[in-house]
Assembly symmetry: C2
Homo-oligomer: 212 residues x 2
C-alpha cells in the first residue's frame, strides 16, 4: 500500500505551502520538495483540488491530535479556579503555542493559508473543525471555572489565543515579540494567556449587554 507515499507527499505539500504560499503549491513543487520523481504528485493527486483537500484533512488530523493530547490539565483534576492552577494551565497552553510557532511552524502557516482559501472554497471548511474543537475545550474549561457565559467566553478566548499565535507567526509580533522556541517567548505567552484566562473565566465586572 502506498499509504506512506501519500503521507510523504502531503507533508511535502504542507512544507511547500508554508514556504511559498498557495501560489507556490504545484504538483511539481511538491515532487521536488519530497525528493521524488517528477510526476509523482500528479499520479497520486490527479487534480490540484485533491491535493489541497488531502492537506486540509491532514492538518485537521494533526491539530486534533495535538488538542487531544494537550487537554491533560483539565483532565488531571486541575481546576481553573485556583491562582496557581491558572498559571500552570496558561503555561501549558503557552508551551503548545510556542511549539506550534517554532517546531510546527510550517503546519500552522499552512493552516492559515488553507483557512484563507476556505474563505472562497466552502468545501474546505472541514479545516474549521480545529477551531470548533478548541472552542469546545475552552468552553468546558470556562464552564468548570464558573464563567457566566462559557459558550460566548470560550469562543472569545479561543479567538484571542489564536490571535497571539498569528501575531507572532505572521503579524507585527514576528519582528518584536521574543523569538519562538525560547523560554522568553513561553514566559511572555504565559503572561498573556493567564491574563486572558482570568478575564474570561473570572467573574468580570458588569459589562454592557447591548451594542451601539
Amino acid at each position: 500500500m502506498p499509504t506512506d507515499r501519500f503521507a510523504a507527499l502531503t507533508d511535502a505539500a504542507i512544507a511547500v505551502l508554508a514556504e511559498r504560499g498557495m501560489r507556490g503549491l504545484t504538483h511539481r513543487a511538491v515532487d521536488t520538495r519530497a525528493a521524488l520523481p517528477q510526476g509523482t504528485t500528479s499520479a497520486y493527486f490527479r487534480t490540484r483540488k485533491a491535493l489541497i483537500e488531502a492537506v486540509v484533512r491532514r492538518l485537521a488530523d494533526l491539530d486534533r491530535a495535538d488538542l487531544d493530547e494537550a487537554r491533560l490539565p483539565t483532565e488531571a483534576g486541575m481546576s481553573v479556579t485556583a491562582i496557581e492552577d491558572i498559571d500552570a494551565f496558561a503555561a501549558g497552553i503557552a508551551a503548545l503555542l510556542d511549539r506550534w510557532m517554532s517546531t510546527e511552524r510550517d503546519r500552522v502557516l499552512a493552516r492559515y493559508a488553507c483557512l484563507l482559501e476556505a474563505t472562497h472554497h466552502p468545501e474546505l471548511r472541514t479545516i474549521l473543525r480545529y477551531g470548533e474543537a478548541s472552542r469546545a475545550q475552552s468552553t468546558a474549561m470556562l464552564a468548570a471555572a464558573g464563567a457566566r457565559h462559557p459558550e460566548q467566553a470560550g469562543a472569545h478566548l479561543v479567538a484571542c489565543i489564536d490571535g497571539l499565535l498569528f501575531d507572532r507567526l505572521a503579524g507585527a509580533g514576528s519582528s518584536s515579540a521574543p523569538a519562538p522556541g525560547t523560554a522568553a517567548n513561553r514566559a511572555d505567552l504565559t503572561i498573556a494567556i493567564a491574563t486572558l484566562l482570568r478575564a474570561f473565566a473570572g467573574q468580570r465586572p458588569e459589562v454592557a449587554t447591548s451594542g451601539s
Copy 2:
C-alpha cells in the same frame, strides 16, 4: 496623469485578492475585475511583484487612515479607568472591527493574504506598519490607564483583538458568531473587547470565587 487608473487597478487587485486569493491574483484577472481592456494591468505594473507591492502600500495607507480616525476616544479626554469609558471605548473598537469585517471585508482579507505572503517575501514587511501603529495606540492607552507593563500588554491586546477579527472572517467564528454588520455582532464584540481592555489595563477581576 493616470493616477486614477493606478488607484482603480490597485483596488481591483485588492478585490481579486479577497475573492480568489494570492493564486488568483493575475494581471488578467485584475483587468477583468476592473472592467478595463486586457493588458492594462500589465502596462501599469510590468511585473507581478510591482502589483503586489502597490497593493501592500495601499492597504497600509487605508489602515493607517482608519486608525488615525478611530483614535478619537483617547483624544477626546476619555480615560480608560472609568467603567463607562471602558465600555464606550470597547464599543468604538467593536464598531471599527465590525465595519472591517462587513463593509471592508475585501480589504481585510487582502491584508491577511499579504501578511501570509510577507512571511516568505521580506520586502513586503511594510504591511506590518499597521500592526505597529495599532500597537502604539494600544500601548499609549494602557499606559494612560495605569497598566503596569503597557508595552507588553499593548502588544498582547492588539494581537487578541486581531484574533477576534480573523476568527470571524476566516476562522470558526465565521460560521458561529453573529453575522458581521449586525448590531448583535457589535454587541458581542463589545463584550469581548471590554473584557480584554479591563484585563490588560490591569483591572482584571479577582478570581477568588470558588466552585459554582
